[in-house]
Subunit: 356 residues, 4 copies
């Protein structure tokens, strides 16, 4: 339910509505715009008397939620959200942000060395996995806490903010302590408890879409982040399972760039693309990076390693540092070209949705 | 890696190999057959010197793992595993087991009333959700601990073992305390930390296949249960996302019965089918229940409610108690018919795999 | 559009409505029930003045089509259609019909030899491909016309009706001349011109669902057969592309048995399952055959070869003749068991659809 | 099989090998490079004695085909193929080509009026459907021959080459007579007889990938075009069925841009993207058009209509003429930006395939 307050509603009336909501065991998320205040009601709506709320003083209307998500939609938050991380601004009209680094943190020396290279190539944020989600119990599962410390120290020494994955609820506190952005991986997109735990830290959340989720489902789970009073959300497209599966010798996943303009239109949050996991092949990272930026992505997450033949995980998709520089330069030019054209990114959102 | 010991190996030699494995930071799972002892090595195999192990006294051979799963395969555990839960035996040549009850536990009265009805219709195990995985933060999320207590009490009063889902690592201890079988839901199939936490309780695990997982991936995650010294596994097929998705007005998921004979051949564990979630439609539950048993399923998980129009979740797929009785009777006859035919279930596994 | 005539409408009034429809460039398909005559309007409905038709004498109502198919639905043809082929009755309450034989016709001797074996194992109809749809131009494409002649002669000599595929419009006339049932293969499910050409021969059509089609789409294309005045339709489920594709070492396709009860409920036509192509593995044919019959299939299409190591196509999925006998015997018993139970197949259709 | 001739082989030796191939009932396709002549063997290879061919005079080697396609691969045709249509060059290093027009030809006036508008907006080729593939028999199926004549006349009057679909083998001759490029639609990608009939006309073929085809399968069917001595192939990505299907309110299909760089690397043929059908939504056409060009597409196929609310098919995805101009201008700038960067399109192909 969304409760729309009258423009003339007083603070006391607003508080009364919030009290009513909370006394029914639900939560209230207040969104105050220039002209209007809307209260998002979070939780099982059957517990709240809809008609009663409608009649409370100061209430203009109460609207039942028809779509599975509401708090993440542009009708609730109309303007672009810009997420700021230690001086880096992501989203809105800001130029592309590059989050780069090794798949796994293997040592301080390794993550610092690669971090330096990606920084020189134009990256703004350092990525590296400490808690690795892996299919096989027989594979390398990440360095854990030690990996977090190495990543944190390398980021500090280089002056780069960091992002790393919290794989389990047990990791959240540690990741929140050491990293600047908490990543929720694709396999955990349906893990509502982990999402909510991460959201409650207040830290920015890089929230990856599952390879098996429709955009609707994806946004329904993103809804849980806002429902926990956290709007620092980076949405991330990282590839869906293509029809008929493993496109060997082609690609394991299909980076679904259609999601980029759809997400930009539906939600106010920055949208990031991950062409490394989204394709699984180093040679596809350059063209799909360019395509992601052209489609409107606010940033890219790219795996980089200077010795890909030696890595403990995902070597086949890691870019070499010198390749990263070429991608960053070209993508920045594409961004500029489109921004200065007669139909810049913002017109993708402004125009009618073509569905009528 | 699997280390195959010589038939003549001594206990001391075995212990020495185990010590070697554990001192490398890995775990050893010992499987002793009539003629041969095999040690399953669990963890990142790069940390163990393969050639050194091969040369240790008492070792016949050390074999690198070529498939993503090994501990759950019939080459590691050749004979059917029968899971026993408070007097109910599931798997092997035992007749079908029915796990029935409401989607969500709503009150003691409700779960006891429905429990009594399903028991009279032939069910052996009582199911009911306390921690519900839900797409929307705006839906009913289950009664939590109170739901566990109601389910436990109803099961005790009726003399039925119980099964319920642990949605998060934080739930595992409570679910293990109150229920006889811990369910890992389809959305958590990729949640390795939850799976391992549940496995470590030693309780039987009903492990549902994700709607987005290949059988290979599914078994790779089941591998984590055996790797935590727990062989009480019930595999559960509950529907995959069909091509082109929502088969409206047809089915949301497609119960993938091909998985039943594939899982029975590949692994020794009991295989259960869930036609309620697997189809999402009450009218498809009877024919797909029959089909699951005919395909070789050792049991069925079926949602039943006597007032489906009133339920807080998934009413459209819940069967009525009198319908359950018809299904149980017919399925038992089908089981008997096939068991007594010239080509009983066991011949599905005995025959060549037809892949040459 | 469906035009529902009044019970009191005269033949002249009916003819007048048909004339009106045909003069607008559309076709009229008349369905006369005990109490009511309905005219199905076929073609682009925008060319017909809806309101005018409603006002014509004898017309009770004119209803716009809301679903993509109508002529194949039970609301248009309420009673089960039984397709009769040279003494073999398929559909309704008839026991299962088995259509068996080699993937490809390779010689008269081969198809006669295997035909004799499948007949002795209980098969009713002889199958064999003459025009083979193949992915690679470098594979065997079938014997063509000569294959048709061999199949026809073997069927005649053994007293078995025959079924074979028409791959192209150019094949239709020849196949209609030589075979008793024209098969439209899964890859041609979207080939509207081929479907209509085959339908116009008036021969029974075995119409396979594409591995990539929703049930809705499938029925929309089946609609074209009835639209061409042919109701001798055998619907055939033969496997969909599973999520994530090639389930190696599992299955290439997933036989989607959910389609069997859905199709039986939605349409009056016999439903056949093809576990050979639907799984691609010989060892899965027995369990999935049993499951298909238990789900309500009216028949099975099974590839059989006595020398599978020598065949020119699809050897890995061909059953041996002695295996066929076991399947036929068990499936016949399963059919009998369910037919004689308190909830026979017909109750799957009679009960509410559970969607409310 | 590919037969690689020695550099010193004589014309007579080459002819002898061709004779040997053809006398075995197969076809020979000769590809002469600067230094080497390779003969592609087309048809069922089992009919040719491999070892015998290897020993023939002038033969350097005979190689069995390991992949399902060979004649369309860069190992067979290393250099980019540029397809020329009445003065328009598509592929290689040529700037993007735009193929635009209405979904269906409805009248001469309509196709000429829209054709003029798209030409002024920068389009090079006029598209319009005369034989429409439609799911429902109750929808508009196109004007047929009359539509072809209108399209042909409009193209002639405007000086634009034309492209239109041949839906059935029966259409091929007519389409070849009236249009400059024959389109094979996505639903006919598996229709081998239609593909071969179209190829034999020698006309350029715009060959659309099925929404249900892996890239491997797609190229296997493209192989049939070269096997019929036609190398004028335009490959076209037009969207795959996304997981979980209808992404409502998102997109019906997912334009799979990963296919663009994969196809450019694997084959020498021009690659075109169709963002109109690939997304089904007008508002997604601009961002996905930009993304397609950035990914390396040689051209775009875009539906345009000046009165989308009136069209007989697919109005929701048709762009307005003034929108087309914006897309063309921006895409041309993106092409120029990338071509002049340090890592132009050609470097996508030149670099290692990243799969080691």
């Amino acid at each position: 339910m969304s409760v729309v307050m009258k423009p003339t509603a007083t603070r006391a009336q607003l508080d009364e509505v919030i009290r009513k909501i909370e006394s029914s065991g639900l939560r209230a998320d207040v969104s105050s715009g220039e002209f209007q205040t809307v209260i998002g009601v979070i939780g099982d709506e059957k517990r709240l008397d809809f008609d009663q709320v409608k009649l409370m003083p100061g209430v203009h209307d109460a609207i039942r939620i028809q779509v599975p998500y509401r708090l993440v939609s542009r009708s609730y938050i109309p303007k672009d959200v810009v997420v700021k991380v230690r001086g880096v601004s992501i989203g809105g009209n800001n130029p592309p942000v590059y989050m780069c680094g090794p798949c796994s943190v293997e040592s301080y020396e390794q993550v610092h060395r690669i971090g330096k290279q990606v920084m020189e190539a134009g990256a703004h944020i350092l990525r590296g996995g400490a808690y690795k989600p892996r299919t096989s119990v027989h594979s390398f599962q990440g360095l854990g806490l030690q990996g977090l410390e190495y990543l944190h120290q390398a980021g500090k020494d280089l002056g780069l903010p960091t992002v790393t994955e919290a794989r389990s609820e047990a990791d959240v506190e540690k990741v929140a302590k050491y990293a600047d952005i908490i990543q929720i991986g694709a396999r955990n997109m349906f893990n509502q408890d982990l999402i909510e735990a991460a959201a409650r830290t207040g830290k920015p959340i890089l929230f990856k879409r599952s390879f098996a989720a429709q955009v609707d489902e994806y946004l329904s789970f993103a809804e849980r982040i806002v429902a926990n009073k956290n709007r620092n959300i980076l949405l991330c497209e990282r590839g869906i399972t293509p029809l008929g599966g493993s496109f060997k010798p082609q690609t394991r996943f299909s980076l679904d760039l259609n999601a980029v303009p759809v997400l930009r239109r539906e939600t106010p949050f920055p949208v990031v693309a991950d062409p490394s996991h989204g394709t699984g092949r180093r040679d596809l990272v350059p063209p799909m990076s360019r395509a992601a930026i052209a489609a409107g992505a606010h940033g890219l997450m790219i795996e980089v390693h200077d010795r890909p033949q030696e890595v403990l995980s995902d070597g086949a998709q890691a870019l070499l540092p010198h390749q990263l520089k070429g991608i960053v330069d070209t993508c920045n030019r594409l961004y500029k070209t489109i921004s200065e054209s007669e139909v810049p990114f913002s017109s993708d959102i402004a125009n009618g949705n073509g569905q009528g």
